[in-house]
Amino acid sequence: MEAKAPDFHDPALASIVETLPPAVVDALPYGAIRLDREGRVTFYSETERRLSGYDQPTVARSFFTEIAPCMDNAQFRGRIDKALAAGTLDITFSFVGDFNDPDRELDVRVQSAAGGGCWIFLRRL
């Protein structure tokens, strides 16, 4: 029986995804990228590869200045770092401008990953 894909807004999205086989994560209707503590990509889903049009993820851009708006200040940077270290980070934001479509709107979700690092989920609207 085919498992139902976890909802993009599920509070425990990252935890649920981590229980799924890679092939199932590959087939989710939204993209999934996992970064380790050092920011290296350890998982890049097939959906994300297909929808972004890129074989390699382009997530190295500055999170604060280019992606997450209005968070380029000491207060938020410190709290994001702490939350990442504590494994409690959960950020959702809209973003306009896909890699191959500057007008594409995306919902982006960043959640702490088990054992450090984080998951980035990208849903095209």
């Binding site: 200040n73 959702t92 500057p102």
Partner: protein, 204 residues
């Protein structure tokens, strides 16, 4: 309180009904021609459906009503009814738009935004206080506005696990000169914070 809320909801519904009633109903807003891609209404609907705050919706509707055909309004078009006096609103002038990145200078910033920052910004270039930017980077929004001549909207929800989540919304509305180039950006920035302080009280 409930009556006020009901009136507010009804007024929103009335505004939305006007917005989506098409050309059959007379409107005080300037007639809007179809966009170059012919999907103006679809874009309109998509943006309106994503706005979560009535402040942003009202700002957008004022901006939309002031447009000149497909062209964004100019600064003089929106300097009425105290529309730019909102405490959560700021205005920047676009300086040297051909530069990469372009430069912006605050011409007005609302009291709520200044209070959050703890200093006045009017007359200063954006980015004058790096590391303390609550208005956010404008470069990407400017590029989108200049390319599409439409607003740019962003939403974010931050949950750090150390208190209540913080929700952020920003709407950037372009203003154009007579030559059609973007001269100013109006921004509406809202934070919703009900963060618990260590003593259990709430603050923002």
């Amino acid at each position: 309180m409930a009556l006020i809320l009901l009136c507010l909801v009804l007024s929103w519904l009335a505004v939305l009904a006007l917005l989506f009633s098409g050309g059959a109903r007379p409107s005080t807003a300037p007639m809007r021609q179809a966009g170059p891609e012919g999907n103006d209404n679809a874009d309109d609907h998509r943006l309106v459906s994503r706005l979560r705050s009535h402040r942003l919706l009202m700002a957008y509707l004022f901006w939309k009503a002031a447009r000149r055909g497909n062209r964004p309004p100019c600064l003089a078009d929106v300097q009425w009814q105290g529309a730019l006096d909102d405490p959560h609103m700021f205005t920047v002038a676009v300086e040297n738009p051909d530069l990469q990145p372009p430069r912006f200078r605050y011409t007005r910033i609302g009291s709520a935004l200044e209070q959050r920052l703890g200093r006045g910004l009017a007359g200063l270039p954006t980015g004058a206080h790096p590391g303390n930017d609550y208005v956010g980077s404008l470069e990407g929004a400017y590029r989108r506005c200049a390319r599409t001549l439409t607003p740019s909207y962003e939403y974010a929800n931050y949950n750090f696990g150390d208190g209540a989540p913080i929700t952020f919304e920003r709407l950037i509305l372009p203003l154009a000169g007579m030559n059609g180039r973007i001269t100013h950006l109006i921004g509406v920035v809202l934070f919703s914070e009900q963060e618990k302080r260590p003593n259990g009280s709430e603050g923002s």
